[in-house]
Amino acid sequence: MLRIEGLQSGYGRIQALHGIDIAVTEGEIVALVGANGAGKTTLLMTICGNPRASAGKVWLAGEDITGLPTHHIMRRGLAHSPEGRRIFPRMSVLENLQMGAARGDPAHFAQDLERVLDLFPRLKERLAQRGGTLSGGEQQMLAIGRALMSRPKILLLDEPSLGLAPLVVRQIFEIVAEINREQGVTVFLVEQNAFHALKLAHRGYVMVNGKVTMSGSGAELLANEEIRAHYLGGGHG
């Protein structure tokens, strides 16, 4: 579904990614975990074409998308829920969802809306409310819901647990699993919350300083001593 080979990228003279190889097959949930500043968000942004890759290739469903402008990439069945949620604060929840469908066929807007609202009943209660007045968890739901409105085949999630209470994090991860299971959407998840992410994911990658250092199934990585020590708070996770 998504294949990344030797990807390098950065901001100006600072290189953030030093040759990344990652593959996500259809129907999978793949988690990329790593500490602050490891380059996780940069990787997602580079997949989306902003910043552009300085070397390496990105294939989406067999097509080379490296170097395409962002708005072209986003029309190829890929959706991105950006870091920090980035909902439109002064627009209503419904308008936010409408924006998610901006590139889709207006004919199935009602159907997609119903699907998203079934996933996130909380949003249904808040449709007329302004995005900025939602709680952090609701905003995250809105960001994911907005991304789903374009009927993506693959969903890129950037730190959905950022700044949320543990209970809400669990709720959101359950919904992500449901999206994957019920709707067959492939998920590529970037997280600092390694414990939850690896528990949810079929497979995982660990990223350190712009390089992938480890990979394996979610369970394998969770059991790994080194990972427990570094990312899971010395095994108490």
């Binding site: 962002t70 708005h71 980035r86 439109f88 308008e95 924006m99 449709l127 007329a128 374009s150």
Partner: protein, 415 residues
């Protein structure tokens, strides 16, 4: 606690007084006198003392009022949607009958026309600033392009106002696109600086391109508009009828004034209707989303370049329409009418109206353009009254007269 608030109040008043002193000393404190022995300076410290006293006292009073009224007077809730719709229709109805009301005369209709020009410009700029969030300080450039387009097309090719109007809009929109390009990569304040520069460039070109624009002398004798070929002149051109003849009325110069009033009213309402409609369309929604968050827009597959350029072009087009109207109303244009201060006034109308509120812009245009006109009787105190009104608005409604945004879509039943 009590003592502390009293102290802050006093400190506030003192600071206000100091600022007033700094401003008043050079402006009020020194007076240039022309006496028999030549020019001499004389002090006028009593005026300065008055200014400082008024400002410090006023600051203290406002602070005290705020303290006393805190919590007691609930801030007025935003008027409900239905009420605003009625207010809007009532305003349109009033505008339609205004020229025929018993108290209105030629002077009033003329002033109303002026206000409507600014309402239209405000609505046009609102597309760029209020919806798309691009702070444009050079809007007057497109107004100028519209005005000169009409003047030149009509004088060079003898085209009528009705043919030139869409052409002027088109030309202004093209300029909007051209000037939009350098701004694409910029954000916020930088857009303001660059657009301000571009606006000035247009004015300087108009001023210096003698052969085409007539330079500082401008263009005079611009053709007045006609109504379906009916002229509003006393003596019609060869083979044409006048408006008065056709309807069997006695000739009056008022006819043209009223006709121009309805013309700008129609143009302004067209702008408004356009904005209200486009906000519900994908383009308009994309403008608003871009104002909110450009990165999120990108990640939803929206091309920010196209969205920004379309906002610039659309806003410019309406400025172009308004510009042609201005040219045909005045019959004379020169670069002096398109200075930076015009851009600033239009932007002030949009900001004061509450960034994005259509009715707010009407109120703000009435205040900013209408008020100084009505205050003409106050003569040299006109600007004082105007400044006072501005200060009151900023105290009372710091985020604009009507700053609540209406969603463009609602579900009828959310149960």
């Amino acid at each position: 606690m009590e003592a502390k608030t009293a102290r802050t109040l006093l400190v506030d008043a003192l600071l206000g007084g100091l600022v007033a002193a700094a401003m008043a000393l050079p402006m009020l404190g020194v007076r240039l006198e022309d006496s028999a022995n030549g020019l001499s300076l004389s002090g006028r410290l009593d005026w300065v003392a008055w200014a400082v006293g008024i400002v410090a006292g006023g600051r203290l009073l406002i602070g005290l009022l705020r303290l006393l009224l805190a919590g007691r007077v609930p801030s007025p809730p935003a008027p409900p949607r239905a009420v605003m719709a009625y207010v809007g229709w009532a305003m349109v109805a009033f505008a339609l009958v205004l020229p025929f009301l018993p108290f209105s005369g030629r002077n009033l209709v003329d002033k109303a026309t002026l206000v409507l020009i600014y309402v239209m410009l405000g609505w046009g700029l609102n597309i760029v600033v209020g919806l798309a969030g691009l702070l444009d300080l050079g809007f007057v450039a497109f107004y100028a392009v519209g005005a000169y387009s009409y003047a030149l097309l009509s004088q060079t090719f003898g085209l009528s106002f009705w043919v030139c109007l869409p052409l002027a809009g088109l030309l202004a929109a093209t300029f909007g696109m051209i000037l939009g390009f350098p701004v694409l990569r910029l954000r916020g304040d930088y857009i303001a600086i660059v657009t301000m520069g571009l606006g000035e460039i247009i004015r300087v070109v108009l001023q210096n391109w003698q052969d085409v624009t007539g330079g500082p002398n401008g263009i005079s004798g611009i053709e007045r508009p006609s109504l379906f070929g009916l002229s509003f002149k006393m003596v019609p051109p060869e083979g044409k009828q006048t408006f008065a003849e056709f309807f069997g009325l006695e000739y009056s110069a008022d006819h043209r004034v009223i006709f121009l009033y309805f013309l700008i009213l129609a143009l302004a309402l067209l702008t408004n209707l356009f904005t209200l409609r486009i906000r519900r369309l994908p383009v308009g929604r994309a403008w608003e989303a871009l104002r909110e968050d450009e990165i999120a827009c990108r990640s939803l597959g929206i091309n920010p370049t196209l969205v920004k350029l379309s906002a610039f072009a659309t806003g410019a087009m309406f400025a172009g329409f308004a510009g042609s109207f201005f040219a045909t109303r005045q019959g004379f244009i020169s670069p002096e009418s398109f200075t930076f201060i015009e851009s600033a006034v239009i932007l002030a109308i949009v900001v004061l109206g509450g960034m994005g509120s259509q009715i707010g812009i009407v109120l703000a245009a009435l205040l900013l353009v209408g008020l100084p006109e009505w205050f003409r009787e106050l003569q040299q105190f006109r600007m004082l009254a105007f400044g006072g009104a501005m200060v009151l608005i900023m105290l009372w409604k710091p985020s604009g007269l009507l700053s609540t945004r209406e969603p463009t879509i609602r579900l009828k039943d959310t149960s």
